[in-house]
């Protein structure tokens, strides 16, 4: 059994009296999509925020390739190989698409910081490759804020790709996308699987069962099931939590 690329153990998050995440274990393996599903308010985004470094866990630990990163900042964690997308597309308003991806692709060492972003050959090359991969090559000179919702989502994925992460945390990447765009993004995630360990939060159950190699189901902060899709589908606990979800 290979070592997990990321191992979260006994992760909990309390906000005062409210327990948002309750002693959850989560393992992300390379070349695998691990979906996290659950009703609204189950704690999925909170869990992701802890893995990304945005929220400090109240208890538990996160290990990245053997190193304990529980208290690492967001930026340090990114440099350690974790990339994430946001539920609501976060672009940098006045940056052109290419520049935003260049920012992600840049290796901020000494002299590279002092010359213009646009002049950086390696960052530009990696940025163009990433944009090409998500199908935004022709839109590289467009200001980020002007892009359509679907394009913004793809831009975010391109930017995250340019980081060359080992671990990818995707927070509802399909939200607000039309059928065609959704299909494109799903295909993209399939190809991304080759290079990284992916955690996917998604509401569209069909997509989840199509993409995921492993599923964790959260309910009220607790993991009530974890395993291969077929297992999870058959689990009684899951059926209870998702009353009405299964076809009669």
């Amino acid at each position: 059994m290979p070592e997990p690329a990321l191992r979260a153990s006994n992760l909990s998050k309390r906000f005062g009296g409210l327990v948002a995440v309750d002693r959850v274990d989560l393992d992300l393996f390379a070349a695998e999509v691990h979906a996290v599903i659950g009703p609204n308010g189950a704690g999925k985004t909170t869990l992701l925020a802890m893995l990304a470094g945005e929220l400090a866990p109240s208890a538990g630990s996160i290990r990245l390739g053997g190193h304990d990163v529980t208290t690492q900042s967001v930026e340090a964690r990114t440099r350690s190989g974790i990339g994430r997308t946001f539920q609501r597309s976060a672009v940098i308003p006045r940056f052109r698409a290419l520049d935003m991806v260049r920012l992600a692709a840049l290796e901020p060492a000494g002299l590279a910081l002092l010359s213009p972003l646009q002049a950086n050959g390696s960052a530009t090359a990696r940025a163009r490759t990433a944009l090409d991969r998500v199908g935004l090559a022709e839109r590289e000179s467009v200001a980020s804020e002007v892009l359509s919702h679907g394009e913004k989502r793809r831009l975010e994925i391109a930017a995250v790709l340019a980081l060359e992460p080992k671990i990818l945390l995707l927070d509802e990447p399909l939200a607000g996308l039309g059928a065609d765009e959704s299909r494109d993004v799903v295909a993209l995630i399939e190809t991304l699987k080759r290079d990284c360990a992916i955690m996917l939060i998604e509401h569209d159950i069909d997509v989840v069962f199509a993409l995921a190699d492993r599923i964790t189901v959260l309910d009220n902060g607790r993991a009530i099931a974890c395993g291969a899709p077929a297992q999870v589908r058959a689990s009684a606990a899951v059926q209870q939590a998702y009353l009405g979800l299964d076809e009669p």
């Binding site: 990304a52 945005e54 900042s73 967001v74 930026e75 990114t78 440099r79 990339g83 994430r84 946001f86 976060a90 672009v91 940098i92 308003p93 006045r94 940056f95 520049d99 935003m100 920012l103 992600a104 840049l106 901020p108 590279a112 910081l113 002092l114 010359s115 213009p116 972003l117 950086n120 930017a159 980081l163």
Partner: protein, 320 residues
């Protein structure tokens, strides 16, 4: 791009001024040009943190004043100081203080950052005004203009023309530095952190570190301007660090626009020229300045230069 041309224009004007001004002007005009050029440099220094870094510092005059005092305190009593040694001490002192202020303040969000820089500015003011260091409320004197010690020759900066040339070169360097940094990857990261901090952190950058570096550089530049002012007048006073002074420089940044290199410099030039004109019209010229400030904030909050540029562009589109 339009803006690039304005920026380049400013650099050209400064360079040309360094050469031509001593032939064209003398006496009062050269002294005024010197003051305006220094204040333009100070505005550019502040503009660098207010604009790309998004840090509203209302205590920047403290770095300016501290450097001036360091010069006054390290300048020898009975002979001219050496520019190189004294300017290094002054700038380093200002940068060190900026590093301290920045390290402590930049962790705080918007309003609290403003209050902290205000407090630090006052701290600096009272340090020199109350404690007896540097002559207290009376200020301190520098008895001689510093000299430029180059290999082989010593250049005296005693006359107004050569001092003006010296000032132009220093300010040119400051403006060029601001220009370079703004368009560098460092500048892009600053702007990204300002416009979407979460996203920028998720790309692996630390906004705190980036902003702190920008703040220190800005403090050093402001310090250089303080040194020049002290060298120009031969006198430093606690007023140089007061919050009213910081606010005035902020006004210059406002008028010219904070998002370009040349904006703050143009703002400084416009404000000081307006003051000159108003002063000849009435002894109550400050009211005119106040009205200008209020008008610009309400009508052209991004600065006069961007406002005019925008107006011209829409005119052109209309007639197209």
């Amino acid at each position: 791009m339009n803006q690039d041309r304005i920026d380049a224009g400013l650099l050209l004007v400064l360079a040309a001024g360094a050469v031509l001004v001593p032939f064209v002007w003398s006496g009062y005009e050269i002294k005024l040009a010197t003051t305006i050029t220094i204040q333009a440099g100070l505005a550019v220094a502040l503009g660098f943190v207010v604009g790309p870094a998004g840090l509203i510092s209302v205590g920047h005059a403290a770095f300016y004043g501290l450097a001036a005092y360091l010069f006054a305190m390290t300048a020898p009593e009975s002979e001219p100081a050496n520019v190189f040694s004294t300017v290094l001490i002054a700038i380093f002192g200002a940068a060190a203080f900026a590093a301290f202020v920045g390290a402590v303040s930049i962790r705080s969000r918007g309003l609290y950052f403003i209050l902290m820089t205000l407090a630090f500015g006052q701290l600096g003011y009272h340090f020199f005004h109350d404690t007896g260091i540097g002559g207290s409320a009376d200020g301190a004197y520098v008895n001689f203009r510093p000299e430029l010690h180059l290999p082989g020759i010593v250049i005296s900066l005693d006359n107004a023309a050569s001092f003006y040339q010296f000032v132009s070169v220093v300010v040119l360097a400051v403006v060029a530095l601001s220009w370079w940094l703004r368009r560098s990857a460092f500048g892009s990261i600053l702007v990204a952190a300002r416009d979407n901090e979460t996203r920028t952190r998720a790309f692996g950058y630390s906004p705190y570190v980036i902003r702190l570096v920008a703040f220190v550089i800005s403090g050093a530049m402001a310090g250089a301007m303080g040194y020049l002012t002290a060298a120009q007048h031969g006198f430093v006073a606690p007023q140089m660090l007061a919050w009213q002074n910081s606010a005035t420089v902020l006004v210059m940044v406002l008028i010219g626009g904070k998002d370009t290199t040349s904006g703050p410099a143009i703002g400084a030039i416009l404000l000081l020229l307006a003051e000159e004109i108003l002063q000849r019209a009435t002894e109550h010229w400050l009211i005119g300045v106040g009205l200008i400030v209020v008008a610009v904030v309400i009508l052209a909050p991004n600065g006069i230069v961007p406002y005019l540029a925008h107006a011209l562009r829409s005119r052109r589109v209309q007639h197209a």
